[in-house]
């Protein structure tokens, strides 16, 4: 029998209620809508989608930071929400997150040393101050901030964005996690520093057998990440997964009309190539409001191929040529 996957999402759904102020009626936003997937030990999963598609909410659900409205979350085969206190605490230690903005996720009035060590001491990874200092220095060396003595006493305001993102990585691995959600972890970094940060993440993965849920809106970054580190790509639209495939196959040969449109729209850093490309065919330029998600296939209001069935029936993720695609006409595009 195969061992249980590290993380398993079964029909995860998260509904937020909004509004209900003044004259406005209360609205419901289904940020995540019946999403199922697995992440194996040491596997990368890239979650791609535009702003507001629910990708960050899904990431937080898989960490147990948010409770789902329905569906369940399993960690090594065990339901996270029926765990006892001790088990849940252990899970929370094993599952870590790296935020987009390192300056707002690390306390500005603490030194790097003060930010790195409390979690290690509390989780009894180290004993005493001397050991904590040594371990913190080791972590900084691991993430390429050398010599560590130069950085441990510094405050975040004296560090660059690239350096701070390395600190957040160091802090995430400080408690020996096996699962890390990287939520737009390199988006804030400058172009010249992004690849270095991605390479570091993949390097740490090999050393510590980490699994990543790599959340991003950037398909070019996604391609680099899964080509170098392997894994699968999941494309999300308005709360649902529309396409899932291994490696960079989704980016090379997109099947779902939404993925196709995204890829046709992404700018290419090559003046000749980018000017030859045609505009993606879409019925509407603007994405629907989150409170007014279309019926049936959520993409039907913009999809150039939509027919009657797309308005009525919700397409399930189906297997098509080693790919999972949620489109009634997937065969036509495969």
């Amino acid at each position: 029998m195969n061992p249980s996957p590290l993380i398993e999402a079964q029909g995860l759904t998260k509904v937020f209620t909004v509004g209900a102020r003044m004259l406005k009626k209360k609205g419901m936003i289904k940020a995540v809508d019946n999403v199922s997937f697995t992440i194996d030990e040491g596997e990368n999963v890239a979650l791609v989608g535009e702003s507001g598609c629910g990708k960050s909410t899904l990431g937080r659900l898989t960490l147990g930071l948010l409770t789902s409205t329905s569906g369940s979350l399993l960690y090594r085969g065990k339901n996270v929400w029926t765990m006892d206190k001790k088990e849940f605490k252990a899970f929370r230690r094993k599952a870590q997150i790296i935020h987009q903005d390192p300056y707002s996720s690390i306390n500005p009035v603490r030194t790097i040393y003060q930010s790195l060590t409390p979690a290690m001491i509390q989780n009894k990874i180290v004993k005493g101050k001397a050991q904590a200092y040594e371990q913190a220095a080791k972590l900084l060396t691991l993430v390429g901030l050398t010599p560590p003595e130069d950085f441990l006493g510094r405050y975040p305001s004296r560090m660059s964005g690239g350096q701070m993102q390395r600190v957040t990585l160091a802090r995430a691995i400080a408690v020996n996690p096996d699962y890390i959600v990287a939520d737009e972890a390199v988006s804030m970094l400058d172009a010249s520093l992004r690849l270095g940060a991605l390479d570091l993440m993949l390097d740490l993965q090999k050393q510590f057998r980490l699994s990543y849920l790599f959340i991003t809106h950037d398909l070019a970054i996604t391609r680099y990440f899964v080509k170098k580190g392997g894994g699968k790509v999941m494309v999300m639209y308005l709360g649902s997964l529309v396409e899932v495939g291994g490696g960079d196959s989704v980016i090379q040969k997109p099947v779902h009309p939404y993925t196709q449109a995204l890829l046709a729209a992404i700018p290419i850093p090559d003046p000749k190539l980018s000017r030859e490309r045609e505009l993606p065919k879409l019925r509407s330029l603007d994405a629907p409001r989150l409170t007014e998600v279309p019926s049936g296939c959520k993409f039907h209001t913009r999809c150039p191929y939509a027919e009657k069935v797309c308005e009525d029936d919700v397409p399930e993720l189906r297997d098509i040529n080693e790919r999972h695609v949620a489109c009634h006409f997937a065969e036509k595009f495969a």
């Binding site: 535009e50 070019a220 680099y224 700018p267």
Partner: protein, 324 residues
């Protein structure tokens, strides 16, 4: 072909007083903008690209000041303009779409009132006239003009607001439109269409555009000519194909090969080592020398001048002849 410079910047230095000392945001910078072109101004955060754009409009933050240099628009000195002259220069000669401008629409004013406000701030016009003009412009940016004019900002999506702001920027038919990171906050699909709209606007009005971004891929798509900024100054400028296919400056080379794409060989990509320079205490000589694989002694001592390296091709590097 000799092109006519419509806007020229000469020896511009802009500094800011910050708690740590004096921050040099723009440092002895020269650049020409030619009539009818789309100039892509590209650089990483803190390289001074936004400050340069603001200074072109003679806008500086309270803690910043123009230390030296000139901005010439069609030969006239922008910094020497009277209050009235400056009011005419802004929006009528040159207008700017600030970064995040679409979030700066007044939430309690309908789009039409924004149009009236903007127009009347710079010239006299009747409401009917403004309405006619706005309708036309909104149509140009592919918005349903009759509907959008009567909407409040919160009733529009991000992409619609960005297009509204673009129409506002065009109200007084400026000769130059400066766009500061206009696509960064937009979704990929919205971005693509917005760029198409900008292209159409340019053809329609014979507009000169200065397009500022950190995103090289977008620059590849829209710019005719590219100026690369590093440490507050221009390190290389040339036609877009030269910059992407045969860059001469070591920084441009490194930057181009550090950009992931959905096509091409990812094994050829190389991360750029080292941190960006600190604008309060920049490295001496060429600011790129601590990260440059070709650096020699001279690079850490003498700042390289912008030299002609071909037909309208400028490079600021001591060693560009040897390394290319």
């Amino acid at each position: 072909m000799q092109q006519k410079a419509i806007l020229s910047v000469r020896g511009l230095t802009v500094e800011f007083r910050v708690p740590r000392g004096i921050l040099t945001a723009v440092s002895d910078l020269d650049i020409d903008v030619y009539e009818g072109e789309v100039l892509g101004l590209v650089g990483e955060s803190g390289c001074g690209k936004s400050v340069l754009a603001h200074t072109m409009m003679k806008l500086t933050d309270p803690n910043g000041y123009i230390k030296s240099g000139k901005v010439l628009f069609e030969g006239k000195d922008v910094f020497a303009l009277s209050k009235k002259g400056l009011r005419e220069y802004r929006w009528r000669d040159v207008s700017i779409i600030f970064q995040g401008a679409f979030n700066c629409l007044n939430p309690v004013m309908k789009v039409f009132e924004h149009m009236v406000d903007t127009t009347l701030a710079h010239e006299k016009a009747s409401r009917d006239d403004i309405k006619k003009r706005s309708m036309e412009l909104l149509k140009q940016v592919r918005l349903d003009s009759a509907v959008v004019l009567n909407r409040y900002p919160h009733e529009l999506s991000g992409g619609m607001k960005q297009r509204t702001v673009s129409a506002m920027a065009m109200l007084l038919k400026p000769k130059i439109l400066i766009l500061d990171e206009p696509t960064s906050a937009l979704d990929i699909l919205t971005q693509k269409f917005f760029i198409k709209i900008l292209r159409d606007l340019r053809l329609e009005f014979g507009l000169t555009m200065i397009f500022i971004t950190h995103d090289l891929a977008t620059i590849a798509e829209i710019a005719d000519r590219v100026a690369v900024m590093y440490g507050g100054t221009i390190v290389e400028s040339s036609g877009v194909e030269n910059i992407f296919y045969q860059p001469k400056h070591p920084y441009t080379k490194a930057l181009i090969s550090a950009i992931p794409s959905i096509v091409g060989d990812i094994d050829k990509l190389k991360p750029l080592p080292g941190p960006l320079p600190d604008p309060v205490s920049p490295p001496p000589g060429c600011e790129f020398h601590p990260r440059c694989p070709y650096a020699r002694d001279v690079c850490s001592k003498v700042r390289p001048p912008l030299e002609e390296a071909g037909d309208s091709w400028l490079v600021a590097c001591h060693r560009w002849r040897e390394i290319n």
